[in-house]
């Protein structure tokens, strides 16, 4: 079935199953029977990409059309990259094993900044010219989506267009348009001008960016009839939005391998550092009947024995009781576990928890994010120390003796006290263990503290904030390490160099395109993988391009500075973000969206409807 060269390549790599496709549920169409072939590229390994719900939704949606086919491509691991180069074989899809460059549309989902080099590598291995300006024909049309395109400026040189927001509807609109223009034999420029008229489609080449002498953006000007501001697309009603009735069941082990469905979109919490909490607004609930039906269909067709209800904060789902009762009415009999991955242990009714007999947790995790109440208020993480200690106490009584605590270092307004506070909170958790009169004899407690460096992101109230310099972060890490006096608390600190690059690219502009290309040519890829990350090469790339990382990462921006993403609208208004930013500077928390609407204006995207309002939690 494979030709000789493919067999040779596959037998030379460690995990050939990443490239062979053929899984249950994979769709292989006859290419002559469709008008548009879409290569959906996930710029990371098969195991990570196949764990992604969005991929499965778009795959089903496109393949449900008679006139289009969607095939998958993942970033080949280093060993496969070597083979492709050795035999001079262009990157191919899993389904037909046809070269990616033969497809009409090639779409990348950009889930994290550190996958940008993988996108370039995949284009290059496909033998597709990297820069949009070097590609003259209509196809392959290179498109991008995913949360990172809320500021796609750093990749603006490489992609032809971006789909902003939720893909369920806009993907179909785009395929329809491309089909029409392919038939007509339109020029690429003509197609792009028309595409820019679709809501949610951003065509970077139709915008001119000018810069001030100090390096900041002076203006962003739309041309050729493109809208001056591009709004993200949302689906208004999740119950009627497309959801596949069956899914691909990977044949090799992947990270998350189970029935997954969303229970609601958006988050009511408004933690000020969390981009997802703002990007996915307004809040839209899915009804228990629909979730139940979708879980049933996927479980039956896949044979999975676990269901994962996904959302940004599962315990905030308004009809959880009803949902769980529906689910366990059949999952128990069929030996299916129900898991709630984003559960906040602090506000979930214990008896509901007990109903989920199948919920297994290997260790207990909390994310207080900051060490003092003052800083938690400033970042709007509404967890109190008492809540953390209370839950820790309960779990120690329940026989646990290991707790993981997640924090961030370098948050806006952070002081020495806040950093030391992390150690103090960890110590108090240790103390709780020893207060428990029934603690298991001879057993000790371990509290693992893990810190990440804060990365300021667009469309959050912290989008104007500087990131701490590498030296400052390291100083704070040292301060924290010295404040920990017991061996019962262990500390691990996230790589601050990686966070620094994330900060640069998250809020970058088009001038980063050449840095990205230079770094890629030096061999940077799989930057998100610890053992692959080469900060030295990145530094060289910035130096050679005379671009300063500090300018992007460590500079405080004024509210009136033109931001590189000012022509992009994700629903949350700038004045709302400024209000929240000011409150943060005053260490003042905001109520959550169910308690009180803070007027973020994202509801306007949905005709004024936001499900967080006027609803009571049952």
């Amino acid at each position: 079935m494979f030709d000789k060269i493919t067999e040779k390549m596959l037998s030379a790599v460690q995990k050939p199953g990443r490239y062979t496709g053929g899984e249950q549920g994979a769709v292989v169409k006859d290419k002559s029977s469709v008008d548009i072939r879409y290569a959906f590229c996930f710029p990371d390994t098969y195991e990570i990409g196949m764990s992604h719900l969005g991929l499965k939704i778009i795959y089903g949606l496109v393949n449900d059309r008679d006139d289009a086919a969607c095939e998958r491509v993942f970033a080949p691991w280093i060993d496969m990259e070597e083979q492709l180069k050795k035999y001079d074989v262009p990157l191919f899809t899993l389904e037909s094993m046809d070269p990616v460059r033969d497809f009409d549309m090639v779409g990348f989902t950009l889930q994290y900044e550190m996958s940008y080099t993988n996108m370039l590598n995949m284009l290059s291995l496909s033998k597709i010219p990297l820069r949009a300006s070097e590609r003259e024909s209509l196809t392959p049309m290179i498109v991008a989506g995913g949360p990172c395109v809320c500021n796609s400026e750093p990749v603006a040189d490489f992609v032809d267009l971006c789909m902003l927001g939720e893909g369920e509807e806009v993907t179909n609109d785009l395929i329809d348009l491309l089909k029409e223009h392919k038939k007509k034999g339109s020029a690429k420029a003509e197609f792009l001008r028309e595409a820019a008229k679709i809501d949610g489609i951003y065509v970077p080449s139709l915008y001119d960016v000018e810069y001030n002498d100090d390096g900041t953006v002076k203006s962003i000007t739309a041309k050729d009839g493109a809208p001056s501001v591009v709004k993200k697309r949302i689906v208004s009603d999740l119950d009627s939005a497309y959801f596949p009735a069956s899914t691909i069941v990977p044949s090799i082990e992947v990270v998350h391998d189970r029935t997954t469905t969303e229970i609601f979109r958006g988050c009511i919490r408004g933690c000020r550092f969390c981009q997802a909490g703002f990007l996915y607004r307004p809040i839209r609930d899915k009804s228990p009947e629909v979730i139940d039906r979708q879980c049933r269909a996927i479980s039956d067709s896949s044979g999975y024995d676990e269901i994962s209800l996904c959302s940004l904060s599962a315990s905030d789902y308004s009809r959880m009781r009803e949902l769980i009762e529906r689910l366990i009415s059949w999952t128990d009999d069929e030996k299916i576990n129900v898991a709630l991955p984003s559960l906040r242990a602090d506000n979930f009714p214990k008896e509901l928890m007990e109903k989920l007999a199948g919920v297994r947790r290997s260790s207990l995790t909390f994310a207080p994010e900051a060490g003092t109440q003052r800083l938690r208020d400033a970042i709007n993480k509404n967890v109190t120390e008492e809540e953390v200690l209370h839950t820790a106490r309960q779990s120690f009584e329940g026989g646990w003796n290991a707790v993981k605590l997640y924090f961030m270092i370098g948050l806006p307004t952070e002081t020495e006290e806040d950093v030391k506070g992390i150690a103090h909170l960890a110590q108090k958790v240790v103390d709780e263990f020893y207060k428990n009169p029934d603690k298991p004899k001879g057993k000790s407690v371990t509290v693992s503290v893990s810190t990440a460096s804060f990365v300021p992101k667009p469309f959050t109230p912290f989008q104007w904030e500087p990131q701490n310099s590498k030296a400052m972060i390291e100083e704070k890490q040292e301060l924290l390490r010295n404040e920990i006096t017991t061996r019962k608390v262990s500390l691990s600190c996230h790589n601050s160099e990686l966070s620094r690059l994330e900060a640069v690219f998250a809020r970058g502009d088009r001038r980063l395109g050449k840095v990205l290309e230079t770094a890629f040519k030096k061999g940077c890829r799989f930057d998100g993988w610890d053992d692959m990350f080469r900060y030295d090469l990145w530094q060289e790339a910035f130096d050679e391009c005379s671009v300063s990382m500090d300018f992007y990462a460590n500079r405080a921006r004024e509210y009136d500075e033109v931001l590189p993403w000012d022509h992009i609208d994700y629903g949350v208004s700038k004045s709302f973000l400024i209000r929240e930013s000011e409150k943060a500077r005053n260490s003042e928390a905001s109520p959550n969206c169910r308690e009180k609407c803070m007027g973020c204006t994202a509801d306007k995207l949905n005709g004024g409807v936001c499900d967080a309002r006027c609803k009571t939690v049952d």
């Binding site: 000789k4 040779k8 050939p16 044949s251 391998d257």
Partner: protein, 222 residues
């Protein structure tokens, strides 16, 4: 409740699914097929599936025995039919039978090995020399293993594990039809090939397909 034996054909894309992943695949396939299978008891019950004979990554098979225990009286043919509707490309159930032979009675397995060469001349000289080497009975391979913390290297007398051996040239390929020890004293056919490579030269590409199993008296293992 009864035990049945599914004979799993594995070829094409599916040969790149590892032994461990086969288990995962079938756990789900059995559920999709709606076959009422026995679950192990205990804290974390899971469906009981027993692949009797591990097959290396990249090798094909006409029939790998998989024993399962079903909880109702579904007929063998229906099991075959249902399973074949839900399996990934390249995997199928050739037939479902009762569990006739005992696992411990597996003594030999038959393989077809196809070795690709650059040209016909190379294939021809490989064929001749391989035939000679097996006739001479002097073929050894090294098997790297582990004993506690230490790496061990075991010399394996390949010919002692060869029951039957036949080789012929077919264009640019050499085709070997061989019966090797299996079961407890299993010899992976790749070891035979690497021993041959040691005395001759390396093939370009190797295809291995397992054709069936035998008891020690060379009667069919079923």
């Amino acid at each position: 409740m009864r035990d049945v034996r599914l004979w799993i054909k594995k070829e094409g894309r599916a040969k790149y699914i590892s032994h461990l992943d086969m288990n995962r695949c079938f756990t789900r396939a059995v559920r999709r097929a709606g076959i009422n299978i026995w679950y192990t008891e205990g804290f974390n019950p899971h469906p009981y599936l027993n692949f009797l004979t591990p097959l290396s990554l990249g090798q094909e098979s006409d029939g790998e025995p998989l024993d399962i225990r079903i909880m109702d009286d579904m007929q063998n043919d229906e099991i075959t039919q249902r399973m074949n509707g839900v399996l990934p490309e390249g995997i199928s159930v050739a037939v479902t039978s009762d569990c006739i032979s005992k696992c411990a009675d597996i003594a030999f397995a038959r393989y077809t090995l196809v070795l690709d060469f650059e040209d016909e001349a190379k294939a021809q000289s490989f064929t001749n020399e391989a035939r000679q080497a097996v006739n001479d009975g002097k073929l050894f391979a090294e098997k790297v293993g582990k004993k506690g913390r230490n790496k061990t290297v075991k010399q394996i007398d390949i010919c002692a594990h060869i029951k039957e051996f036949d080789i012929k040239t077919d264009g640019e390929t050499a085709v070997i039809d061989t019966v090797l020890s299996s079961g407890n004293d299993n010899l992976n056919p790749t070891l035979l090939v690497s021993a041959l490579n040691g005395v001759i030269f390396k093939e370009e590409l190797l295809h291995i397909r397992r054709k069936g199993f035998f008891k020690s008296d060379m009667t069919e293992w079923r």
